[in-house]
């Protein structure tokens, strides 16, 4: 939508947009260009000479079986976190969206975990699940030790990350449910549709766009925002069992100092985010076009 009435002047608007643009260039475009540059070059061990290596870093990356197991691990992790957080969020939203005594209290008590940092969620879960001291962990038997068992570590990381994310989905599902016209649900009730049938035939199809949107948001959250939780809980271990792609970029680039390989991973991740965000705008477009 174009505005008909505007203010005259060219210098003022450019000054107004300048700070945002400057930050975008310095902290987004420059690093992104650098990542691409580093991904296609190699520097010798002394940092004295740099040569162009083309797609070598990428071929090496895609030939690396460890990278693919990290991809697979990230997929399992993201899918589990998203599924658990979305199902619980939808469940709670469905039961809150009705005439229920104390429903505002329920709402407040289901919203606050939005404010919890993923890393701190992990700290609290460590405290509960620790095999020696945890209020839950110490009753889980002698085979419970997420410090040694990769599958248990993965399960715990998923729980801590999903726990924190339920509120977000709850808020969106509740908003979507409240937008459904009462008359529609009442008509269905008069036709004899109750409980699960009513949900399946009336509510679920209307929640579909919200579900698609939330799926992308949850996948992005699980892929990128959970670094702190994973790092605090397991450090990516045991033996790499919880090393997702972002953890790997950090480990290889910052700890391992493999700049070219880490840059190639960054570029691969950027492509992934672009794909996910484009998908999101396919579902919820309308806004970007001016």
């Amino acid at each position: 939508m174009e505005r008909r009435t505007i203010f005259p002047g060219k210098l003022l608007p450019m000054l107004l947009i300048a700070p945002q643009l400057a930050l975008t260039f310095v902290f987004f475009l420059w690093p992104a260009a650098r990542a691409v540059g580093e991904a296609v070059t190699a520097t010798n061990a002394f940092g004295t000479s740099t040569i162009f290596v083309g797609i070598d870093n990428f071929t090496a990356l895609f030939a690396d079986s460890q990278y693919w197991s990290s991809v697979w691990r990230t997929l399992v992790f993201c899918a589990s976190v998203s599924l658990i957080a979305m199902v619980l969020g939808m469940l709670f939203a469905n039961f809150t969206d009705r005439n229920l005594r104390g429903k505002n209290w329920y709402r407040t008590f289901l919203i606050w975990p939005y404010a919890v940092a993923p890393a701190l969620s992990a700290v609290v879960w460590v405290f509960m699940a620790d095999p020696q001291i945890g209020v839950i962990g110490r009753y889980l038997g002698p085979n419970w030790n997420y410090g040694l068992n990769g599958a248990q570590a993965m399960g715990l990381v998923i729980a801590a990350c999903a726990w924190k994310q339920v509120s977000y989905n709850f808020i969106f599902y509740l908003a979507a449910l409240q937008a459904i016209p009462r008359s529609l649900v009442e008509a269905a009730t008069l036709d004899g549709a109750r409980g699960l049938t009513r949900f399946r035939t009336i509510v679920w199809p209307l929640l579909w766009p919200t579900t698609m949107f939330l799926l992308v948001v949850n996948l992005v959250y699980a892929a990128f925002d959970t670094f702190g939780a994973i790092y605090a809980l397991t450090g990516g271990g045991p033996a790499g069992a919880t090393e997702t792609l972002v953890v790997k970029v950090y480990e290889d680039g910052y700890i391992g100092n493999d700049i070219g390989g880490s840059a190639a991973q960054s570029v691969a991740l950027m492509v992934l985010v672009v794909a996910l965000v484009s998908l999101q705008f396919r579902f919820l477009n309308r806004r970007v076009q001016s």
Partner: protein, 278 residues
């Protein structure tokens, strides 16, 4: 029928409330207990009233790795960082959306799309090259380094652009006839109209800033700039023997500010979140 349904609803919702509250309860109860008892695996779920002083002591607690910077200092760093990100991002998004909507100037579209592009590049993705850029600008271990890279973002600009586009042309016309310049119009008209959106964004961005982990981990390499989230994760690392009651008390203190902000501004926040992220 209806009654039966309500019982089910209450049961499910109470389950939900407990699912979130129990870990917090365990955390608070753990904080008030004797460190030695916890280490023996002897945690009681009933908070010890005599241990409540720990929350005060925790403010002055120094982890082994914190080189003399106590918890209150870390809270202060987190607060400064979160506030800086929230205020900074709102300010630059507001002005750039204002420029894009109410003016015509060369390369306007190109500039808008350049800003929009940043949606595609979360900081986690370009972490190593961003850090390299930051060190060449000498911003490592500064508040600028902690906040500036997280301030630039398209979401807030998109939101304000949408709000401003909905302001009727007639209002702009009237303001111009009254002889109001663009900056007067911004102050007297645009800001009041977007107050609710600003409040909502503030909550979202404050929480976002407070909860950062990966970025401070890189940028704050000296304890003087350690945030509280960073400090706590460091306390539970295997090479540091910190008493668990102290860790839980510190975690409680770290969780409070963003939770209080969310609960106090709940109404604006919920409406704003569903607007912003769509």
């Amino acid at each position: 029928m209806n009654h039966h349904n309500n019982y089910l609803a209450h049961t499910v919702l109470i389950f939900g409330v407990l699912l979130f509250l129990l870990p917090i309860w365990v955390m608070v109860a753990g904080a008030t207990q004797d460190a030695a008892a916890i280490a023996r695996g002897d945690i009681s779920l009933i908070p010890n009233i005599h241990g409540l002083g720990i929350f005060w002591h925790a403010l002055f607690f120094k982890g082994v790795a914190s080189a003399g910077y106590p918890v209150w200092h870390m809270l202060l760093v987190s607060f400064t960082m979160a506030l800086g990100i929230a205020v900074g991002k709102i300010a630059i998004s507001l002005t750039s959306a204002f420029a894009v909507v109410f003016f015509r100037f060369p390369f306007r579209r190109v500039m808008f799309w350049t800003i929009f592009l940043t949606l595609m590049l979360p900081v986690e993705v370009r972490i190593i090259p961003s850090f390299a850029v930051l060190s060449s600008l000498h911003l490592v271990n500064t508040y600028g380094g902690l906040t500036l890279p997280l301030i630039a973002s398209a979401t807030a600009t998109l939101l304000f652009r949408q709000v401003f586009t909905a302001i009727p042309d007639e209002l702009v016309e009237a303001a111009r006839l009254d002889g109001a310049g663009p900056l007067t119009f911004l102050r007297d008209m645009v800001l009041p109209v977007s107050r609710a959106n600003i409040a909502a964004l503030f909550v979202i961005l404050f929480v976002y800033g407070w909860n950062q982990y990966l970025w401070p981990l890189l940028v704050a390499s000296t304890p003087a700039y350690s945030t509280i989230v960073l400090g706590i994760v460091q306390m539970i690392s295997p090479d540091e023997m910190t008493p668990w009651n102290m860790i839980m008390a510190t975690t409680t203190l770290a969780l409070m500010p963003p939770i209080v902000v969310v609960i106090l501004l709940q109404r604006a926040f919920v409406r704003g979140l569903t607007d912003v992220d769509k």
